[in-house]
């Protein structure tokens, strides 16, 4: 039906992955970090879909489903944590969370 080369799909996935990584590294706002993390996870999902499409198997999509589950669980827990953090520290600055070091 289509002729999208696998490597192009993978490259897109890698691009998104890397952009997500940049987001995690560069942003200090915890919510933005979580969002960037979602981008990374989503990118891996895309990679699985691309791979699944190459082999014509359902496994790729199932892996995507599992990633989706993970994303949901992680966002749930993560946002709960963000709320607690904001209540306690009154900031979302990831860098200010350095009470333990050394």
């Amino acid at each position: 039906m289509n002729g999208i080369p696998m490597e192009h799909g993978l490259l897109l996935s890698v691009t998104l992955f890397v952009l997500g990584l940049i987001g995690v590294l560069a942003r200090r706002n915890l919510i933005m970090i979580l969002m960037s993390l979602e981008v990374m996870l989503n990118a891996t999902g895309l990679a699985f879909i691309v791979a699944g499409a190459r082999w014509g198997q359902a496994d790729g999509q199932i892996m995507f489903l599992l990633i989706l589950t993970l994303a949901a669980a992680e966002v749930g827990v993560g946002l709960g944590l963000v709320l607690q953090i904001f209540r306690r520290f009154h900031t979302l600055d990831a860098d200010s969370l350095n009470g333990m070091k050394g």
């Binding site: 995690v24 590294l25 970090i33 990831a94 860098d95 969370l97 350095n98 070091k101 050394g102």
Partner: protein
């Protein structure tokens, strides 16, 4: 049972005396201590007399007695064995005889000292060790005695331990002689490695049969043994401990540093004469060292003011004569001189001790004077001793020294000349001492009465010093007879005999009649510097200080905290630095942590792809 089988008891008695005294001495009363200390030596002396008589009257066959096994490993077998021949008999007489007299003397001299018990014990230890030394049939046992006398000497020099200087002198004596001992020990190793035995007689036989004369090995072995002898006998260049050793009580100086221990080196060389004859160059070196030493220390004795130091330098000088004798192959003469020297030097020391005793430990001769009348016994003893020492004709010293000098002339006129010069110098310092102390201005004497313990030995030794020259020791059975000369060279004999008289006259001109004044000589700058140079023992101590002692101390102090440890501290510091650096990476920041993960991933992928 023959008396000779009691040989093993000779060193044992003094040793038992030592043990008893050292273990329980401080609980005994003074007389008991005296009886134990003197008695044990006396028993030994009696045994020596009996055995000696039996031996000398017998066939004079060397007698060997093995008491037990000391060590027996592999091919190394060291028995506790004693060997009796004319040489050891002579030495036994000296050690026990003179030792006994000095013991008696010290019973008076040291009676009031609180440490009398330990003093007696140490003396006994010394005598016992010396007896082992002379009786040993193998070199290791000899070394045991050798070190034992060193220990005894250390203990006795430092006997008055409250004065730090005495401790220093004692340590100096021990360490310096140890330098020689070390050479001796290495020599022992060399001998055993090559000849596979320590037994002296077998060793000498094997040395002559296995080695060629003048070859490297005998030369090396003889050199090493010589090193040991130099240390113990205070010969150049290891002589400087002896004057300092005078810090000990005077009987100690008499016994150890005049009569017995310092002659151990002579005994060793005489004992191993076969080896030295295999190494003519070394033997010649012995003679040269003897000659040099006798001159140098004679000069030093000239300028000393401490009565005991004068005698100490004279001892060095006299042993120099013995070395000279050994070096020229006049073995019996060396031992003969050893014998007579033991008499007159012990006598001199004991007389000096009496003087010092009476002056309450005053040593400076220029603070004495005119003692001739106050202390006749001391004066006569001193006079006889000095005469013998400077070898005035018909004293004991004359016979022995005369033989040596004639033999030296045989070997080399140069050596003979040195010996004669030495004899002149000896005459000067001997009589300088006599004239200064016993003639001239009379000094107030504090205490002149000598107990019988001190008088009797003086008398007996005086007799020996005077007539000891008549003793004929049958040493020919021990030593190879090399030359057999009647005094053919009359001129030489005359010069040799008159040399001490010249010295005597010079001393008289300076110190008795006052014709010349030493003070005036000192006014010359060169002369004064020479005086100081000689006074300090030719700067040997200073040289050692600069070359060895001070560098060693400096390095030791510098390295007190151990440079090697610093290396480990370095490792510790390195780890600490690593820790601090690594710790700095733990910033506590999430984004930094993510970066490290990302970086790590990048790196491991790179490694994976590139490898």
């Amino acid at each position: 049972m023959k008396v000779i089988e009691l040989l093993g008891w000779i060193p044992l008695f003094p040793f038992l005396g030592f043990l008893i005294l050292v273990l329980a001495g401080d609980r005994f009363s003074k007389p008991l201590i005296t009886w134990l200390g003197v008695g044990s030596v006396a028993v030994a002396a009696i045994l020596v007399a009996l055995i000696g008589a039996e031996f000398l009257n017998g066939t004079m066959e060397p007698y060997r007695m093995v008491l037990g096994v000391w060590m027996d490993v592999d091919d190394l077998s060291i028995p506790i064995g004693f060997y009796l021949d004319a040489l050891s008999v002579t030495m036994l007489f000296v050690v026990t005889g003179v030792g006994f007299l000095i013991h008696v003397y010290s019973a008076g001299f040291m009676a009031s000292d609180p440490g009398y018990a330990s003093f007696s014990a140490y003396m006994n230890l010394f005598v016992s060790a010396m007896l082992v030394l002379v009786l040993a049939d193998n070199l290791v046992l000899l070394y045991l005695g050798w070190e034992g006398v060193g220990l005894g000497s250390y203990l006795l020099i430092g006997f008055w331990y409250e004065d730090t200087n005495n401790g220093y002198a004692a340590r100096k004596a021990f360490v310096m002689t140890r330098v020689g001992d070390t050479a001796l020990l290495i020599g022992l190793f060399l001998l055993f490695t090559q000849l596979h035995t320590f037994d002296i007689q077998i060793l000498m036989l094997r040395a002559t049969s296995h080695w060629a004369p003048g070859a490297l090995l005998p030369v090396a072995a003889a050199t090493l043994l010589l090193g040991g002898a130099l240390g113990k006998s205070a010969q150049l260049p290891l002589q400087s401990w002896l004057p300092d050793a005078m810090a000990g009580p005077t009987p100690v100086s008499a016994l150890i540093h005049a009569a017995t221990m310092v002659t151990a080196g002579v005994y060793l060389i005489a004992r191993t004469n076969a080896l030295f004859m295999m190494a003519p160059s070394v033997q010649f070196a012995v003679a040269v060292i003897g000659a040099l030493t006798l001159l140098m220390s004679g000069c030093s004795a000239l300028v000393q003011t401490d009565i005991k130091r004068i005698l100490a330098y004279s001892t060095i000088s006299q042993i120099g004569y013995m070395f000279l004798a050994l070096g020229v192959g006049a073995w019996p003469s060396a031992i003969f001189h050893l014998l007579t020297h033991a008499f007159f030097k012990a006598l001199l020391f004991l007389a000096a001790g009496a003087v010092i005793f009476c002056f309450h430990h005053e040593h400076n001769i220029f603070k004495m004077g005119g003692l001739r009348k106050a202390m006749p016994l001391a004066f006569w003893s001193f006079l006889i001793g000095s005469a013998a020492l400077s070898a005035l004709p018909f004293t004991s010293g004359f016979y022995s020294k005369h033989e040596i000098l004639l033999a030296a002339f045989d070997a080399s006129p140069g050596l003979w000349a040195a010996g004669c010069l030495g004899a002149i110098i000896t005459g000067i310092y001997c009589f300088r001492l006599v004239f200064v102390v016993f003639f001239g201005r009379e000094c107030p004497v504090i205490e002149t009465r000598l107990g019988w313990q001190m008088s009797i030995p003086l008398v007996l030794l005086g007799a020996l010093a005077l007539f000891g020259g008549m003793l004929k020791i049958p040493l020919d059975s021990v030593f190879p007879v090399l030359f057999n000369n009647d005094p053919a060279f009359d001129l030489v004999a005359v010069i040799t005999a008159t040399a001490p008289l010249i010295g005597l006259s010079i001393a008289a001109l300076f110190y008795l009649t006052g014709t010349f004044s030493a003070q005036r000589l000192v006014d010359f700058r060169v002369a004064n510097q020479m005086r100081i140079f000689c006074f300090n023992g030719w700067g040997v101590d200073a040289l050692y200080g600069a070359l060895v002692v001070r560098p060693f101390k400096a390095i030791a102090k510098l390295n007190k905290n151990d440079a090697v440890d610093r290396a480990y501290t370095g490792i510790a510091l390195l780890s600490r630095g690593g820790h601090l650096m690594a710790s700095a990476s733990q910033t506590g920041r999430i984004r930094w942590y993510v970066s490290s993960m990302a970086l790590g991933t990048v790196v491991i992928i790179a490694i994976g792809l590139l490898s």
